[in-house]
């Protein structure tokens, strides 16, 4: 996974992009990685929640100054510009849906460095549970960001209630999104090895990175 130096993680909000992005950055920590929290939409649950964990693992975490505060204004830290000049492996965690507009700011730099852009899907999210709707949103996000997706990540889950069977039941869905879009399913991602589907090709087993309130 991750031949290109820049990996952009984007998709429908609530599909699980942040957990995938944080997990990829942690996986690449040994090689020197950066996680860029580019979410200008989500007020609460976001990569900024994992900043301490990322930094402890040696990942450079670039977090908007006002994330998780009461400042309800999107900001992009100037530090982001540094990732295009450094040799690190960069993961962009992009805001959902039209939140991808923030990505367009860096389009020229991202294209010149070379990138892969992963479209995270979750069959159990109602607005993209139809493969046709999922691909329509994919095209919208491409027009917001002015970048093209290169692959699909099947992150289908029902939160804490997810079973291996739920993940296995999502494989035909991911295959249909792949067929309609003409892009490969790069991997299936699950929280916890017990949920890993049998015979799903490449699987990314992740830890849960969503902030726990109770």
């Amino acid at each position: 996974m991750g031949e290109k130096r820049i990996t952009v993680v984007a998709g429908h909000y609530g599909a699980g992009k942040t957990n995938v992005a944080v997990s990829l950055a942690l996986e690449r920590a040994a090689r020197g990685s950066v996680l860029v929290d580019l979410d200008t939409v989500n007020p609460y649950f976001r990569a900024a929640d994992s900043a301490a964990e990322l930094r402890a693992a040696g990942v450079r975490a670039i977090i908007p100054e006002f994330a998780n505060t009461n400042v309800d204004i999107p900001t992009l830290p100037p530090e982001i510009a540094s990732v295009f000049a450094s040799g690190e492996s960069v993961v962009f965690d992009v805001g959902g849906d039209d939140g991808a507009a923030a990505l367009g700011v860096y389009r020229g730099d991202i294209e010149s460095v070379g990138y892969e852009m992963l479209y995270v899907v979750n069959k159990y999210r109602p607005l993209i549970s139809d493969p046709g709707d999922a691909v329509a949103l994919m095209r919208e996000i491409e027009s917001y960001s002015r970048l093209r997706f290169t692959g699909i990540v099947n992150n289908s889950n029902l939160g804490a209630e997810t079973t291996r069977f739920d993940v296995e039941a999502s494989l035909p869905y991911a295959a249909e999104v792949s067929r309609l879009s003409g892009l490969p399913v790069v991997f299936t991602s699950v929280i916890g090895a017990d949920r890993a589907p049998r015979s799903a090709g490449s699987v990314l087993v992740m830890a849960g990175h969503t902030k726990k309130l109770f």
């Binding site: 609530g14 007020p43 009461n70 309130l213 109770f214």
Partner: protein
Amino acid sequence: MAKVLMKGNEAIAEAAIASGCLYYFGYPITPQTEISEYMAKRMPKVGGLCLQAESEIAAINMVLGASASGTRAMTSSSSPGISLKSEGISYLVGSDLPAVVVNVQRGGPGLGGIQPSQADYYQATKAYGHGDMHLIVLAPSTVQEMASLTGEAFDLADIYRTPVIILADGAIGQMMEPVDFSERRRREIPPKTWATCGHGGGRKHNIVNSLLMNPEDLENSIRDRFERYRKIEAEEVRYEEYMTEDADIVVVAFGIAARVCKSAVAAVRAEGIKAGLLRPITLWPFPSARILELADTAKAFLSVELSMGQMVSDVKLACECRRPVEFYGRTGGVIPAPGDVARKLAEMAREQM
């Protein structure tokens, strides 16, 4: 329909559509904007209307108009926006119109903050508008309940001809959990003979209005409404209990605070402290009778809220000073951790020995 994974805000929107709500009028504000976003995407597909009004005040008055025509209508906002709607809410009450109003609370006063809060409890249960009035106030504590109570809210609104408030908080609005939309029982809805929906000269025309010319007529209309309120108090109180049977300390909490408290109760039980949780689902009518019953067996009550202490006064009133009622809370957008509540419970248990 199989289970889906949703944000609490989305669950409210989808449940409203599933309940036959065809008119949504809103104005964006964090942390409830997903309701508007979801409605904007889904309403056109079901033949309904999602309209972003020019202000919160416009939105609530559009709800009044839509409701007067006999359709199901909803608006939503977060704390500061709800304050703007309060005049319209009072007009809905005075016009005996059903409506569903969602408040996904954030920190106040003023512009306050965008993090979760429960500090609009007094506003919701005592004074959402001017005049002699009550509103049914429902407090969901899971994403599933965001859906089921929204359906329930539309039914209650139509049955009792009153606005119903969903008093949620930013945490439940933003967090994601699985939801099943096939569960809810539907209630029988009386025909809307009062609606101003056109009749082709077939009957006397209906008037929807909150202005009555004679004080005696106004008094009578208010007394009639209060008869309905007595019926709501007798028949619609809802709450959930967790380990209260033998509890020495009964925690009272709603919404996200109840989720935190449930974990705290389980934790202190493991240490031999007999705690339990009473979670009001209806904040008005308040489960006062059940709290008074629990005062027979409990030694003390603890109200836990995301505020400086508001519901605590209703708990005190309910138990009629027979037991001490303490308070623990965080405010301004801070959510207490289960450990914080557990420490407070341990402290109370030590005092009882």
